[in-house]
Symmetry: C2
Subunit: 333 residues, 2 copies
DNA sequence: GTGAAAGCGCTAACAG
DNA sequence: CTGTTAGCGCTTTCAC
């Protein structure tokens, strides 16, 4: 004998009112006489009634749920964004459906359609690059989308980022001003717009301003992994570079430890600047000078922007740029 | 003029079949003549029909969504579990609603009720301890629950863990065998069963086996933070300990760096073993010897267990224990 | 301030 | 193999 789920109808009957009235008190509609409200609340409590959000979603066409597409939650960078997203979502009474994509183009599309099928009210997308296909899906649906820490070359949807170009320029400039003539640029896939378009441009701009010439031999593409950094350190030494700007902390720690193991003194003989100022940069010795980006805030602001879009509020600016900085530690002079 | 959402009914009309038939092909029911299936599929494609999962959820009383309550996704430990959970969830066609609780008792209850209102088919709970209140909510609802990396003193629900007691005993034993007479036990809140019941018991057992006496002066409670570790290192030195077992990597790196900064040589003068073998233990020099626990797998197995519970399959064992290990690095002799 | 009634889009017997 | 018919539990006009 299954325990019968109790519905709004049961409450209505017990309280001698209509379903409509129960619905009103549940939703805090003011048009209810205090006395009846009290009576209804009483019955709700007595029957231990719990509103069914699915039924509500079907009737109201709103699920108070947003989809979050993320390359990998177990990556500290994205996890920080996710935390910011969830906190603001909670603040506005939304839940998030979290889906990992591994940055895989096909998975991203599958996951997006899945989320749309679940009638999410909005989507936050994180990814290294935006394919034509996914952009097509975005515009095909009326569901609002915000990119968090991700760049769409022709921005049709909302987005929140720092100015990657400027940040990289400043980091490279610091290295140049310290007297380095050969500065390595160590990045992930240059196909990703943040690396290949924004950061590389900033790097080149800084070289130019400092009268240094650009050389492809100083540009390295790599996976964002500690081990990859260890291995890469040899090639960097061989390139003749005396400093490096690295786009990822894990990679940067690998490079730094690799250099140290090879007897290279940091920062005396080689300077390093990394990009995310995560805990790794403090644990390693010497500490790594780093660009700072407000990861949590990027997530939080993305979600805030999405709430506005979902409410069809007027948006002053669809592309939000948050401030960045540089914090100096032991890996630069 | 709003774009009309197209429904199963539209497809039925266009294909000259009933809703039921459309529903059958959408759900892969084999009882459909190939010819009609083809016709329906064609119309679905032409009309660009997308099934509405909310309506389906209401009608079928299944949402293919599970709730995941997590203290903090931006903590690498929990993020790893979450990744394992999501991968297996995806494998079984479920989505996860992720909700951060900050380990806060009240939030946990709110979040759980919220998830239940959304009619999730199951819940995975991660938390440092299980309060009476939340346990009450668990049993009040018929929704299956699995604890991941969390211990319920009287286990009424499913759970997946390693044997924390055994692992701690082995770690402490290693330290004792290396000749240390005063071994510190550095933990988070001892109120949490994993620390206060399992790990502490393992620590005591190892001391006993090695003829060492237990002293409260060697037991430290702390936040799981790098900075806390730095500060704690002084107190540990003062305690006269020559080795420490630490329950958290971030805390352990703080302690190790704090000791090194105070001129203590690791491992010659002080040995350290930590618990999660995260990247931090490789980045710091010397590398930290660590207990290894299969974080991703704990998440994955939890979700797998939950699918069985949701399917009402027979379970051989509700409490799953996964294997652990110890990996030696530079912080022990 | 309150009620009646019509759906929201889909699944699930039950017939045939 | 296919169609009919009830709902699932709630929101939302529209009356009164």
């Amino acid at each position: 004998m299954e325990k019968q789920t109790i519905t709004i109808y049961d409450v209505a009957r017990e309280a001698n009112v209509s379903m409509a009235t129960v619905s009103r008190v549940v939703n805090g509609n003011p048009n209810v006489k205090p006395a009846t409200r009290k009576k209804v609340l009483e019955v709700i409590d007595r029957l231990d009634y719990r509103p069914n959000a699915v039924a509500r979603g079907l009737a109201s066409k709103k699920t108070t749920t947003v989809g979050v597409i993320i390359p990998d939650v177990s990556n500290i960078f994205f996890a920080s964004l996710a935390r910011g997203i969830d906190d603001v979502a909670t603040m506005y009474k939304y839940n998030i459906i979290l889906a990992n994509s591994d940055g895989n183009d096909e998975k991203e599309i599958n996951v997006l359609n899945n989320l749309l099928a679940k009638q999410v009210d909005g989507v936050i997308f994180m990814g290294h690059h935006i394919t034509e296909a996914i952009r097509g899906e975005f515009s095909r649906s009326k569901t609002p989308v915000v990119l968090a820490g991700s760049i769409d070359p022709d921005d049709q949807v909302g987005s929140v980022n720092i100015n990657y170009q400027e940040a990289t320029k400043e980091a490279t400039d610091l290295l140049a001003k310290n007297g380095n003539k050969k500065i390595a640029f160590v990045s992930g896939a240059l196909l990703d717009p943040i690396n290949g378009r924004e950061r590389l441009a900033g790097y080149k701009a800084a070289l130019k301003e400092n009268g240094l010439k650009y050389s492809e031999g100083l540009v390295f593409e790599s996976e964002y992994q500690y081990k990859a950094g260890i291995e890469l350190s040899q090639r960097i030494i061989n390139s003749g570079a005396t400093a490096a700007y690295v786009v990822d902390d894990e990679l940067a720690t690998g490079i730094a430890n690799g250099l140290i193991d090879s007897g290279v003194k940091i920062p005396e003989e080689f300077e390093v600047i990394t990009s995310n100022n995560s805990l790794l940069t403090d644990v390693i010795r010497p500490g790594l000078t780093s660009v700072t980006q407000p990861l949590y805030d990027i997530g939080a602001v993305s979600m805030r922007l999405l709430t506005k879009l979902m409410n069809k509020e007027e948006i002053d600016e669809k592309s939000v740029i948050l401030p960045h900085g540089i914090v100096k530690k032991g890996s630069t002079k």
